[in-house]
Amino acid sequence: MIYLILFAVLLLLMLAAAIYAVFQRDLLYAVIATGVISLVLSVIFYMLQTPDVALTEAAIGVALTTIIFIITIRNTVRHEDEHDKHSREKKIQP
């Protein structure tokens, strides 16, 4: 019983993180939300009796994908609707 309620809470949390990641204008927050999706997804994989996939998702989705997105944001712009030609000078520091 409590297992199923935990399952439902995790699914709702994952959906909320996905919607936040798509509609957030600050790209850094959106990337952190994708990391949250991967973290919750690895717990769901563990509850679906697939520990191999859970290990892979926890290592790749949480650590490596997030760090590569963050390096890209540091090298480009941080806000979604920032498109003036001189944005390189006032680039947001990492």
Binding site: L15, V22, T34, L41, Q49, D52, V53, I60, F69, E82
Partner: protein
């Protein structure tokens, strides 16, 4: 109890399909290139959840014959989608890395990330 189980079992397919749809919506309507890559990675996550949940067996155990579980072969969940998803996650990371390096290269050349402003085809 039974109806709750029913709700969860449709809920997991529903959550996976909604993840795919939300990711596709982001990839189709947003203007920023990084947002498009984020949307594609959300689609990845949804497809992995969908594939793994196809192979689930009610009351099953993980497909590992550790001591004490040697004769439970008919109660194990399907290992083939797991092997598929295991390789798909690693490939998905490689695809994301290549896409983000292309994003960095485009930003160096055009000084912008908006796909509406990147119009000229020549470099």
């Amino acid at each position: 109890m039974d109806s709750l189980y029913k709700m969860i079992e449709y809920g997991i397919y529903g959550a996976a399909i909604l993840l795919i749809l939300v990711g596709l919506y982001g990839a189709l309507t947003k203007k920023s290139l990084i947002k498009i890559v984020i949307g594609l990675s959300i689609v990845d996550a949804g497809i992995h959840l969908l594939l793994v949940s196809i192979g689930y067996l009610k009351g099953g155990t993980a497909p590992i014959f550790s001591p004490g579980y040697e004769d439970m072969a008919d109660k194990m969940v399907d290992p083939i989608p797991q092997a598929l998803v295991l390789t798909a996650i690693v490939i998905g990371f490689a695809v994301t890395a290549v896409a983000l390096s292309l994003v960095i290269r485009l930003y160096r050349h055009h000084d912008t990330l908006q796909i509406d402003d990147i119009k000229n085809l020549k470099w």
